[in-house]
Symmetry: C2
Subunit: 358 residues, 2 copies
C-alpha cells in the first residue's frame, strides 16, 4: 500500500456516490451495483491499485462504448459442475459476481464447480470474487487474463498479462483467508507511480524495449514474470495456466490476441476472460474438523519467529488489518482520483459527498 | 537438468528392473507398478530430481515400514464432483493415480471433480498425475504438501514445504502441456547437490540458521519462497493455498505439523496429503474450438522474439524435447543412483539389466 495524501470517506457514502456516477453515466442498476461493490470492496481492504482509483477509467469505458453498462450477463449451465457466463461486453464485475453466485449454486451439491466467463471486461481485483464466495461459506479460485505486458522467460517482448491468481476460503470464527497475486512481481501501475515519484524500481521486475532488465521506470517497456531473471519461468508458467483457463476453457481469445486495453480508443469492446473454481468445504470434511485444521495451520504460521521489527503474516492478514483501520478512519482516496471523481460528478450532475474531517 | 555421468537404460528394461525391486522388497503388484510408473515417467521426461533417483529412498521406506508397500488405497465418493482417497500409508503414487482415475470418472459427466488424498506418502513429481489425466484427454491440477523447509515472508524458520503446483491439459495434435513448479525457487535437492560440487547458490533462494539470506550451500538451513526477499510473500502464499487444499480439504495435518521426512527413523508412516482437480475440456468448449485456441496461444508464445542464443518455450517444452532424446538415447542414471540400485538388487536377489553401450 502506497502512502496517500488526499481525502477520506466512509464506505457507505463512498458507495452511494460511486454507484450514482455509474447510474448517471448510463449503467443499469445491476451493472452500477456490481462495479461499485467490487471497487469499494477492494478499497475498503487497502487494495487501492484495483479499487476506487479505477472508477474514472470505468466511467470512460462506459461513456466511450468499450463497456456496455446496460449489458445483462447470461449464465448457461453446461454440466452438473460447469457453467459459462457470456459477459456481453458489460462490466467484468457484474459477470464475475454472477459466475461466483452460480458457481456456489452448482457446488452446493456437486462439491465443486467451474464457471468460465467470456466476452467480459476488466474485473478489478481478482480477490473480490473469491472473497465473495468465502463470505458465503465456499472456497474459490479466481483467475483473469489481462493486458499483454509480461515477457516470457528468455523473451524480449511481452506476451502474457499480469494474469492474477486469487484464492479465498472460510476460516470459521475469523475473517476468510484471501490470497491474491499477480503472476508478475509488480503490477504495471507501480511503473506509472514510480515515473511520477522518480524512484528507481527494484531489480529483476521490468525490462526495457530491447528486453533487458532495467530499474529506470521511464525506460520500462514490459514486466518480468514472478521469479525474476532466473526463476521467471515459474511466474510465466502460472500466467500460461491462467491464460489457458480464461481462453480455451472460456471460449475466448488468448490474452495476447486481444487488443491492448491501453489504447486510447474507448469505442469498441476488448473481450477478456475469467475463470472461477468454487468448492463447498462441507462436502470435503466435517465443518468442525475443517475449522480446527485451518485455524491450527494459521496459528502455527503466525507464530513463526520473525526478523526484528517484522511479523509473519498469513495471506490476507495485511488487508484484514487495513480493513479494520479503514472502518474506523474511512477509506482514503488519492488527490488525483478524488479530483477525477469530482470532475465526473460535475459533468454528470451527481452531488459530491463531503469527505471526512482529517 | 544437471549433467550426469553414469549409465543409460531404455525405458522398458529400466521399468522391469525397478518394478522387480519393489516386488522383492515386499510391495504389492499394484503398489510396485504405480511407484515404478511415476518414477520412470519423471525420468523419461528429464525430471531427474523426482525420478528413478528416489527409488533407493522408496525401497528404504518400504523395508523400514514408513511406507506400507502392500497397502490398498481406498476411494470414497463424497459428492457428484468430490472424492477422497485414504492412502492407508501406502505409496503416494498408488493413491494418486487412483485419485486421478476416479477424478476423471467423476469429471466425465460433472465436468469438474476434486479428489483429495489423505494418509499418503511422498508422491514424486506432481506433474506425473496431471499428465496422466491430460494423456487421457482431461485437464488436471496436482498439489501436494511436503517437508517443512521454506521460510514464510519475514520469518526466520521454515514452515511450509516446497508445496508444488502442477497443471496439465491436452493439446490436440501434440503432446499435452505440463507445468510443474515448486513454490520455492529451488528444491532442497539443489542444496545437497551444490554441497557436493562446492558451487555457490544463486542469491535469494536460501537462508542460514538465523534466517539470513546465504549463497553458501553448507550454511543453508531453509529455503526462500519463489519471489525471493521482496516478493516471497507470493511463493509463500501459493504454498499456503496448497497446504490448505492438502490438509483442510483432505482431512490431514497441515504440512508443518507432520514429522520431518528427513528423519532417519524409517519405522513409522509420515502422512502427507495431495489434492487433484480434474476437468473435462469437452464440457467447456467444443473440442475443435478448444484445440484451435490452445494451439494458437502456444504458437504465439513460441514465436516471441528471444534473447540471442535462447528460445521462448511453452511450459513443458524442455521436457518434451528431453523425452524425445531419451527415447532415442536411453534414460541416464547418475553413478550414485545406479550403485544404490545395483546394491539393492544384490540384496533382494533381482537380476541387474545391462546398461546401454555409451
Amino acid at each position: 500500500m502506497e502512502k496517500m495524501s488526499g481525502v477520506r470517506l466512509n464506505e457507505r457514502p463512498l458507495s452511494t456516490f460511486v454507484e450514482a456516477l455509474f447510474r448517471k453515466a448510463g449503467a443499469s442498476a445491476a451493472g452500477a451495483r456490481a462495479v461499485t461493490r467490487a471497487a469499494v470492496d477492494a478499497s475498503s481492504r487497502g487494495v487501492d491499485t484495483h479499487g476506487v482509483r479505477l472508477v474514472p477509467y470505468y466511467l470512460k469505458c462506459v461513456q466511450g462504448g468499450r463497456i456496455d453498462g446496460k449489458a445483462k450477463p447470461v449464465f448457461r449451465r453446461l454440466a452438473p459442475g460447469v457453467g459459462h457466463v457470456d459477459g456481453r461486453n458489460g462490466f467484468g464485475h457484474c459477470a464475475s459476481y454472477l459466475a461466483v453466485e452460480r458457481g456456489m449454486m452448482l457446488a452446493k451439491d456437486a462439491g465443486i464447480a467451474a464457471v468460465a466467463v467470456g466476452n467480459s471486461s476488466h474485473y478489478g481485483a481478482a480477490g473480490c470474487y473469491a472473497l465473495a464466495a468465502a463470505r458465503a461459506g465456499y472456497a474459490a479460485f479466481s483467475f483473469t487474463t489481462s493486458e499483454s505486458v509480461v515477457v516470457p522467460q528468455d523473451g524480449k517482448r511481452a506476451y502474457f498479462g499480469t494474469n492474477p491468481i486469487a484464492f479465498a476460503t472460510p476460516v470459521p470464527g475469523a475473517e476468510p483467508l484471501v490470497f491474491d497475486m499477480a503472476t508478475s512481481s509488480i503490477p504495471y501501475n507501480r511503473v506509472f507511480l514510480r515515473r511520477a515519484t522518480g524512484q528507481a524500481l527494484p531489480p529483476e521486475v521490468a525490462v526495457d524495449k530491447s528486453g533487458r532488465m532495467t530499474v529506470d521506470p521511464h525506460a520500462v517497456a514490459a514486466l518480468l514474470p514472478l521469479g525474476g531473471l532466473a526463476y521467471g519461468y515459474k511466474g510465466a508458467g502460472l500466467a500460461a495456466v491462467v491464460d489457458i483457463l480464461c481462453s480455451c476453457f472460456a471460449r475466448g481469445l488468448p490474452g495476447a490476441e486481444t487488443v491492448s486495453t491501453m489504447t486510447s480508443d474507448f469505442s469498441f469492446p476488448i473481450p477478456l476472460g475469467h475463470f472461477f473454481i468454487v468448492m463447498n468445504p462441507a462436502l470435503f470434511a466435517p465443518p468442525a474438523e475443517y475449522g480446527r485444521t485451518i485455524r491450527s495451520m494459521l496459528k502455527g504460521l503466525r507464530a513463526v519467529p520473525a526478523h526484528r521489527g517484522r511479523k509473519v503474516m498469513a495471506p490476507g492478514d495485511p488487508e484484514i488489518a487495513e480493513a479494520a483501520r479503514r472502518r474506523r478512519r474511512g477509506i482514503p482516496l488519492d488527490r488525483a482520483t478524488w479530483r477525477a471523481l469530482v470532475a465526473a460528478a460535475d459533468d454528470l450532475g451527481v452531488s459530491v459527498p463531503r469527505p471526512r474531517a482529517r
